[in-house]
């Protein structure tokens, strides 16, 4: 097997140094709000110019793997996802930390990331040709339904009611339409010059999560009696391995969802964690515990976002079609090295291709080892007083936002969205559906408009969007997802009503 044949080529001092450096650097960059995997890989591409192709790709692959997992550290400890892929980790990860289980949450995060990541890379190794054909079947209509499937999970994401969740999601999608129409090129809703470029996803992510958190910290920062520090318990890694294996259902759901979503070109791994979290919640016997510090929520989300790393490279390496935004940047890294993705990559440059894929497998192991190690060091973060934390998060939010596109307009938009979100949260709305709306809005609109244009030259819009086996499967999944959300809400309402009746009847 070629992947075993080229495995020894990976173990040179230089390659191992790059793998270790890339993993540690990636974990730090991933944990910094604003520095997403895409941006981290893009920033490191210039460093790979002078390297051998295999070495450059090893560095980029290690950073890609580690930043996705590293984003969970800030999600768990300071309630700010390091990247869009870690949004779902916030719901239960930060709640676990507040309940005095931060170490456990961080352990689960890295163990689940490792399991999901390894399965994803094995998929890349063994099923690349078959999966490449599957990835090619996604046209505008299928991608539109993928976005709608993502939107159907909105209702259950952290909001206090499905309607409020959907409202926030629709508002997020509406916000994403600010700027130029993707097909006609007409500027829309550009009320102030800062909005001319639209709303950047990273700026929105930081603003919607970081600034409300800053204001919440400051609410009680002056009050010496309102001290609330996150608990970092001492916990053996082995008991966390056991805990993770006991939640094999969440681990499996996360891994499968991550692998499937990672394969879909353009959908991006950004939604894999959210979709996996939603499915794990719906299929869990403890669904009411989700959002209150349920470890299965962290496991599903983190296994999914790392599981998508390998599959997102399948369409890239075989068809030159990137499966995620980071994979698109990696494509640039390949082209700079003079490597053109496609079937010939595995014949003409077999050593480079297989050493790169093998390095992804080793990077997962290094991510686990160093991730578990930094879980212990995270104790420092939990002891920072609220006012210092608020000041540091504000500065990090500003620099993180500015660094994405060197745009001060993004900083202004981030701050305005953040203050608005704080008020929205006080009215019972949640940030997660709005961010998901901002992420999925452009995917849904672009593919809806492209699909309509294709349909007009064919059998019409209805036939284009509502026929074809993949379309029908996706529509079915959307209906099941909506139906289950309604059923879950009704069940929860009935349970609350029964509890209220019991309380009233008891003396």
């Amino acid at each position: 097997m070629p992947f075993l044949e080229y495995f020894p080529h990976l173990f040179t001092w230089w390659n191992m140094a790059l793998l270790i450096g890339g993993t540690i650097g990636g974990l730090i960059l991933g944990a910094t709000p604003g520095l997403s995997p895409t941006m981290s890989v893009a920033l490191l591409i210039p460093f790979t110019f002078s390297m051998q192709p295999a070495s450059g790709l090893i560095l980029l692959g290690a950073v890609y793997t580690a930043t996705v997992a590293g984003g969970a550290v800030s999600a768990i400890l300071i309630n700010i996802p390091g990247a869009p892929a870690n949004i779902a980790t916030v719901f239960d990860g930060h709640r676990m930390a507040r309940n005095g289980r931060a170490t456990e949450a961080l352990h689960y995060c890295f163990i689940a990331s490792f399991v999901g990541g390894v399965v994803g890379v094995l998929l890349l190794i063994f099923f690349t040709p078959v999966l490449a054909e599957f990835a090619l079947k996604f046209g505008p209509s299928e991608l539109f339904w993928v976005a709608i499937l993502g939107i159907t999970v909105i209702g259950s994401l952290g909001a206090q009611s499905t309607a409020r969740g959907l409202f926030a999601g629709a508002f997020g999608a509406w916000l994403s339409t600010i700027g130029y129409n993707p097909v006609l090129g007409v500027p829309r809703f550009v009320f102030v010059p800062q909005l001319a470029g639209g709303i950047n996803i990273i700026a929105a992510l930081i603003g919607l999560f970081a600034i409300p958190e800053v204001l919440s910290l400051l609410e009680t920062a002056r009050d010496p009696t309102a001290i609330e520090t996150l608990g970092m318990e001492r916990r053996s890694v082995w008991s966390s391995f056991g805990g993770c294996l006991r939640r094999v259902r969440a681990l499996s759901i996360g891994t499968v969802v991550g692998c499937v979503v990672g394969l879909i070109p353009g959908a991006g791994g950004q939604i894999s964690g959210l979709v996996a979290y939603d499915q794990a919640r719906k299929l869990s016997p403890y669904s009411d515990n989700f959002g209150k510090g349920e470890p299965a929520g962290v496991i599903a989300s983190e296994s999914a976002n790392n599981a998508m790393v390998g599959p997102s490279l399948v369409p890239l390496l075989t068809l030159s079609v990137p499966g995620s935004p980071t994979a698109a940047v990696l494509l640039g890294g390949l082209l700079i090295q003079g490597l053109f993705p496609g079937p010939q990559l595995f014949t003409q440059h077999a050593e480079v291709a297989w050493v790169f894929i093998d390095s992804l497998l080793v990077a997962q192991l290094l991510m686990l080892v160093f991730g578990l190690y930094i879980s212990g060091l995270s104790r420092v973060v939990t002891r920072i007083p609220k006012r210092y934390m608020a000041a540091a998060v504000t500065v990090l939010a500003v620099f993180g936002t500015y660094s994405v596109e060197n745009s001060f307009a993004d900083v202004t938009v981030m701050m305005a969205l953040g203050v608005g979100m704080y008020l929205f949260q006080k009215a019972g709305f949640s940030a997660a559906p709005m961010v998901l709306g901002i992420i999925l809005g452009p995917i849904a609109e672009r593919n809806f408009l492209q699909g309509r244009m294709i349909a007009q030259s064919g059998n019409g819009t209805l036939a284009y969007f509502f026929t074809g086996s993949l379309n029908l499967i996706l529509i079915g999944l959307c209906l099941i997802s909506i139906g289950y959300s309604i059923y879950g809400e009704l069940r929860s309402l009935r349970r609350r009503k029964q509890q209220r009746q019991q309380q009233e009847s008891s003396p």
Binding site: Q160, L184, A391, S403, L423
Partner: protein
């Protein structure tokens, strides 16, 4: 019928949705606004549903859905954040951020001795900004606007 917190929120959501729809409807070249108008209509539907359900559910404890904004406590923070964004490109990112760090910590510190109240935030602010400079300017080559100072 009383306009309690959740109902007020639902009314606010409905007004927002209608305004967004009108913004799209009144624009020239309606074809370009098809998708945002569909979204605004969906928002109107959801807001109406929320409003009706809040009105029907009389007796539901409103406090569970709507939190209070402690304006008195947060007013200094909002003024500081507004000033921060205004001064960032004028004084420079690093200078303004250091000032924000120190001022925010000082304003929200519990009362204590003057020396310890000032020295620690200044020292920690300087160290933190050095780390930020190392990460963004040195390692990632991000060119932040320098303004008057840095």
């Amino acid at each position: 019928m009383k306009l309690t917190g959740p109902r007020l929120t639902a009314v606010g959501a409905l007004i927002l949705a209608v305004l967004l729809y009108l913004a799209g409807r009144t624009a020239t070249m309606p074809r370009a606004y098809l998708f945002p108008n569909i979204l605004a209509l969906a928002m109107i539907g959801l807001a109406v549903y929320t409003l009706v359900s809040e009105w029907v559910r009389l007796g539901t404890p409103a406090a569970t859905l709507v939190g209070q904004v402690p304006w008195g406590t947060l007013a200094p923070a909002l003024i500081i954040l507004g000033g921060y964004v205004y001064l960032l490109p004028r004084l420079g990112f690093y200078t303004t951020s250091l000032a924000l760090f120190i001022i925010l910590v000082l304003v929200y510190s519990p009362p204590r001795r003057l020396a310890s109240r000032f020295l620690l935030p200044i020292a920690l602010g300087l160290i933190f900004m050095l780390v930020i400079y190392g990460l963004f300017a040195v390692l990632l080559h991000v060119l932040a606007p320098a303004g008057l100072f840095m």
